[in-house]
C-alpha cells in the first residue's frame, strides 16, 4: 500500500525523511559502520512505515534492486577467481619494463591498464591489486610511488565511469533506467575518453618534477606472477564470455546480472573452487549496505516524498530549453556531493526522483548521463570521495617510503584540479553533443 500522492508535505513524508536523514547522518559520520547504519535505518523505516501505514515489508522487498545486488555478487565472485591468477601483476611488471625507466611512460601505461580493467571489474579491486605492485616497482626504481598511486586511483574512478558495470552507481542507474551495456558505453565513452586524456595530461603536468628517467632495471620476474597458466586461461575465458555477453545482453533479453552469473557458472565448472574460500571473497558488507539503502529509499518513495520533490523540480525541467542547464546542474551537484560524501546513498536517492519526473512528462534521459558522469568524476576531488582513493592512500602510508604518504591536503591539491578539469571537459562534451544524450 503506497501513501496517497499529495501535493503538500504530509506527516508520513516528514517521518520518512527524518528516518532517512538519521540513517544518512550515521552513515556519513561513521558513528557506526556504514552497513550497520543502513541496516538499522532499513529496519526502522519498515517498522515505523508499517505502523504509520506508508510502508510495508512487501514494499521493502520490492524496493531492493535485485539486478544490482546480483550483478555485484556475481562479479565479486568472478574477480575472486581472476585475482589469484597473477595476471594483473604480470601486466604491471611487463609494462614497467616496457617503459624503460621513463617514469612518464610508466604512469601512462599503469593508468591506462588500470582504467581499462576498471571498466569491466570493480575499480576498488583493481586498485587493491595494482597499488602494492606499483609501490614495489617504485621501490625498486628508487622513485616516489605517490604520483603513480594517485594516478591509478583517479583514473580507475574515471575508467569505471565509462561502463555499466564499472562502478556501482552506474549499475544502479542502468538498472533503473533500463540502459544496456552497449548504450551505456557508447554514450559515456565519448564523454569519458577526453576526460581521461585531459586528466592524464594534468597529472603528468602536476607531477612533472617527479617523472624523469631512471636507469635502474625493474628487477622483477613477471613470469613468476602467473602461478597456474591453466587457471589463468579458464578465468580469462569466463571473463571474456561475460564481457562479450555484456555487449549483446539486450539483444538476447538478458539482464546484466544473469550474464554475470552465466560467466560465473562457466568459471565454477572449469575452476571448481573451494566454496568456502570463494564465498569468503564476496564483500557481503557492501551488498548489505546497498540492500539497506534500497529499503530506506523505498520507504521515502512510498511515503510520497520523492514524488513531492519531483513536483518541485518539474517546473525547472519541463522547458526543453532548460533541459541542458538542468542536466548540467545534476552533473555538477552530483559531482560536488560525491567529492565529500559516499556517492552510493546519493545515487540511490536521486534515481527515484528522476524516475518520478518521467511520469510528469519530462525527458529524463539526459539526467541519467549527467548523474553517471557527476558521481563518477566527483569522487576524485577528495581522499574520501571514492574507496579506491582510500586504498591508494593506505598503501602510500604503509609502504614506509620517504615522501610517499598521501595526506588529505596532498590529495586535494591534485584531486580538486583533476575533478574540476574533468567536469569542465565532460560538461563541454555534454553541451556540445546534447542531442546525443537526449
Amino acid at each position: 500500500m503506497m501513501a496517497d500522492i499529495s501535493v503538500a508535505l504530509t506527516t508520513n513524508m516528514l517521518i520518512a525523511l527524518a528516518i532517512m536523514l538519521s540513517a544518512y547522518v550515521m552513515i556519513f559520520s561513521e558513528i557506526l559502520h556504514r552497513t550497520s547504519s543502513a541496516i538499522i535505518g532499513a529496519v526502522v523505516m519498515i517498522g515505523v512505515g508499517t505502523y504509520t501505514g506508508f510502508y510495508s515489508q512487501d514494499l521493502a522487498i520490492e524496493a531492493i534492486d535485485g539486478n544490482t545486488i546480483l550483478l555485484l555478487t556475481a562479479m565479486m565472485m568472478v574477480v575472486a577467481m581472476v585475482r589469484p591468477t597473477g595476471a594483473f601483476e604480470y601486466v604491471a611488471v611487463a609494462l614497467a619494463k616496457l617503459s624503460h625507466g621513463d617514469l612518464r611512460l610508466l604512469l601512462i601505461y599503469l593508468s591506462l591498464v588500470v582504467s581499462v580493467i576498471s571498466m569491466f571489474l570493480d575499480n576498488v579491486t583493481t586498485v587493491i591489486i595494482f597499488a602494492p605492485i606499483t609501490v614495489l616497482i617504485a621501490r625498486i626504481l628508487e622513485v616516489n610511488p605517490l604520483p603513480f598511486l594517485m594516478a591509478e586511483a583517479m583514473l580507475s574512478n574515471i575508467g569505471g565511469a565509462a561502463t555499466l558495470v564499472g562502478d556501482p552507481p552506474n549499475i544502479m542507474i542502468g538498472s533503473a533506467a533500463s540502459i544496456d551495456f552497449t548504450r551505456f558505453i557508447t554514450h559515456m565513452g565519448p564523454a569519458i575518453a577526453p576526460v581521461w586524456l585531459g586528466s592524464v595530461l594534468l597529472i603528468l603536468f602536476i607531477f612533472r618534477k617527479h617523472l624523469g628517467k631512471v636507469s635502474k632495471p625493474v628487477a622483477l620476474n613477471e613470469g613468476k606472477a602467473i602461478r597456474d597458466v591453466g587457471a589463468l586461461m579458464r578465468a580469462m575465458f569466463a571473463l571474456a564470455v561475460i564481457i562479450i555477453l555484456f555487449f549483446v545482453h539486450h539483444h538476447l533479453g538478458l539482464y546484466p546480472a544473469y550474464v554475470a552469473f552465466v560467466g560465473l557458472c562457466i568459471a565454477l565448472i572449469l575452476e571448481r573452487p573451494e566454496p568456502g574460500a570463494l564465498f569468503g571473497e564476496v564483500n557481503w558488507s557492501v551488498l548489505a549496505f546497498f540492500v539497506g539503502l534500497f529499503i530506506i529509499v523505498g520507504g521515502i518513495e512510498s511515503s510520497g516524498l520523492l514524488h513531492w520533490v519531483g513536483l518541485q523540480l518539474v517546473g525547472l525541467t519541463r522547458d526543453p530549453e532548460q533541459l541542458l542547464l538542468a542536466g548540467l546542474a545534476v552533473m555538477w551537484v552530483a559531482a560536488l556531493l560525491s567529492a565529500v560524501v559516499d556517492n552510493i546513498p546519493f545515487t540511490v536517492t536521486v534515481i527515484p526522483i528522476v524516475l518520478g519526473l518521467e511520469g510528469m512528462g519530462i525527458n529524463i534521459t539526459p539526467f541519467w548521463w549527467a548523474l553517471a558522469i557527476g558521481v563518477g568524476l566527483g569522487g576524485n576531488g577528495t581522499h574520501v570521495g571514492a574507496t579506491a582513493n582510500l586504498i591508494a592512500i593506505a598503501e602510500s602510508e604503509k609502504c614506509g617510503i620517504k615522501g610517499a604518504a598521501i595526506t588529505p591536503l596532498a590529495w586535494m591539491k591534485v584531486g580538486i584540479p583533476t575533478m574540476f578539469s574533468s567536469l569542465i571537459v565532460a560538461s563541454a562534451v555534454y553541451a556540445l553533443f546534447f542531442p546525443f544524450f537526449m
Binding site: E89, V93, P132, I133, V135, L136, R139, I140, E142, P217, A219, L220, N221, E222, K224, A225, R227, E395, K398, C399, G400, I401, K402
Partner: protein, 151 residues
Amino acid sequence: MKLMDVVIPTGVIRSGMSIGEAYRACVTHNVAGLPFCDATGAIVGRFSLRYTFRKHCIPNDMVDNAHMLGDTIACEDALEVASGNMLNLSVDDYIIENVATITPTSPVVKALSIMEKFNSSYLFLLENGHYIGVITRMRIANLMLKHHKLL
C-alpha cells in the same frame, strides 16, 4: 613424551631492552621468540624475531609479490638492516600482545595444536603462573627422533 623434556629454559625480555639484546637472547637459546614481562614479572606479551623483521625490514608490497622478486633488488630497507640502526631501538614498540602458553601437564599434541592455532613455531611453558621456558616444534621433533633412536 612430556613437555618438561623438551622445554628450553630462557630469560625474559623486559621493557627498555634493545632489539639487539633481545635478538642475542633469542639466538643464544635458538628460539624465535621470548616472553615480555612487566615489572612484576607477569607475562604481558612476547618478543618475536619474525614480527620485528616484518615490521621493520620487509615492506608489505615485497611480501605480497615475493615470488616475483629478482636477485638484484636493493632498497633502503635492506640498508637499514645492514646499518644496524634497528638493533638499537627499544623492544617496547615491537611487542605482540597475544601470547600462547601451556602447562607442563598438557600433552605434546596440545602444544602442537596451540602452535598451529596461533600460527607460531613456539609457545611458552608456565607452571603455576611462573615462566619455565620455551617449547618449540624443533625441540619436539628432536625428541621424537631421539625416542625412536633415529638421532
